[in-house]
Amino acid sequence: MAVAQQAGLRATIRPRDGFRTVTTVVSLVAPLVLVAIVLVVGSSALPAIRHFGADFLTSRAWNPVKEHFGALPFIYGTLVTSFLALAMALPVGIGVAIFLAEQSAARVRGAIGVGVELLAAIPSVVYGIWGLYVLAPWLLVHVSRPLAERFGAIPILAGPARQTNLLIASIVLAVMVLPTLSSISRDVIKAVPGGMREASVALGATWWETMSQVVLPAARAGIFGAAVLALGRALGETIAVTMVIGNRVDIPSSLLFPAYTLASAIANEFNEATGTLYPAALIELGLVLMLVTLTVNVLALLLVRSVSREARV
């Protein structure tokens, strides 16, 4: 009753606002597109979902001729490259973030900041061609082969090393997620209240003690959020990985062997996929990829938001 009264009151005070109606309808395009993506991709994958059921996720088979399809090799390749990339990018990304948040020399800070942001502007396909023709041959001679020769007894470094493999895909991905990692971490570190820093310095702590025992612990959740966001980017990255991972349907134990990812399988095979089951299986790979990245991204958003909310208080 009271609510209805209040609403009636509001309506009499506020004149009809056509602008509000029109802009609100337009602003619904983004959420509607999101829903449409989930529905369309989901329904296009239906033939494969019906045919293979849950086995799709655990099967290692990928035989377009016999129409046996399983996602396990692609899930493996995607997870290994993404987590390895994150592990490599994390120390550098946090180092850069601390540098950008703390370094007082504005010119040096600006140069590094712009440089890292330009990394984000470079198209994925350029990373791909550079990885394929510059990084891969160099890595093979100077890193992969020596590693395999010296530590080949360890399964993850077993030889013979190939030019395109899981390791180089991870390195390229690490470079590509670095901007995400460092720019968000920088914002989070900057959001830590200055009073905490000052209190720590006033107690006689060195700069590093302040960073490692006060600032970074306070920013921990946000940095974790940045890492998860970077993971989401790495999971979905397509073209650069497709060009350097070797594209072989396999679950290799060695990082020096070629493999495949969800995204690169779609990129390579979708245009050649005939029949109904083969394209549907590829779309189901896309569905798996989308659901994983959606979960990861929402988790990251919640983490980053919780930190910036704390900082605002």
Binding site: R20, S27, A30, I37, G95, G115, M243, F270
Partner: protein
Amino acid sequence: MGMGLRMTRNRRRLLANMLARGAMWLMACIALLPLSLLLIYTVANGLPALTHLEFFTNVERPVGIPGAGVAHAFVGTVIMVGVASLMAIPVGVVSGIQLVEYGTGRLGDLVRLACDVLVGIPSIVIGLFIFSLLVAPFHSHSALSASAALAVLMLPVVVRTTESAVALVPGALREAGLALGLPRWRVGLQLILPAAVPGVVTGALLAVARAAGETAPLLFTAFGNRFMNFDPTKAMAALPLIVFHDALTPYPDLVQTAWGAALVLIVLTLLVNVASRVALRRQISLAAKL
């Protein structure tokens, strides 16, 4: 003795401090290494292709015949990104204004969340989505479908950057307009939006740069084309597609074309990026003046 112990302990603390600072500098330098290597090698490998003027005027040639160019891909990228901008930018700008003017409630949060999630969806999945929606039903690859896919990628970027640009406009400007009795649409479009134009341009340029460099959403939509094509309902070439396809062939002259196209692409995206930075600086000084 206690004094001596404290001295060594302090020395150790200072040493750790210096090491940590050194590590920070080291990480910053490591971060710049791949960028410099990437730029150096792309210029070195791409420049030879660009020295022939035919590279900008001709279309692709069969392997072994000199004089191959990427004019068709250049035209294709401009057309597809242009049409995508026409789809995404108006919708994105209006959504961004809505978020600032009315977006305090749950609906606004929903739109913001949708945009943040949309940014994170892999571009290859957007390619699959548009393929199922706009390519499969018409049995034809088309530049229009590619534009739609690129527009989906651009939309959230435009919305969020417009929102932050419009939010920078001082509230007094809005209140002044409303106090003069202007209707909300005139306040929004004729007062607030002009004050936020440089920021909106920043966002639009960032979105254009992102779209121009994307390959994955074009694979199943634009598909690529060896010939010059202006018909948006047919398959069309694009610079990123040329890089992707030609780089993976075993023919040196095609690989050379791929490097050339990669260099053109890098120059284009970096130019647009620099332009967006200039626009951003202008927005900040404009907001300070208001």
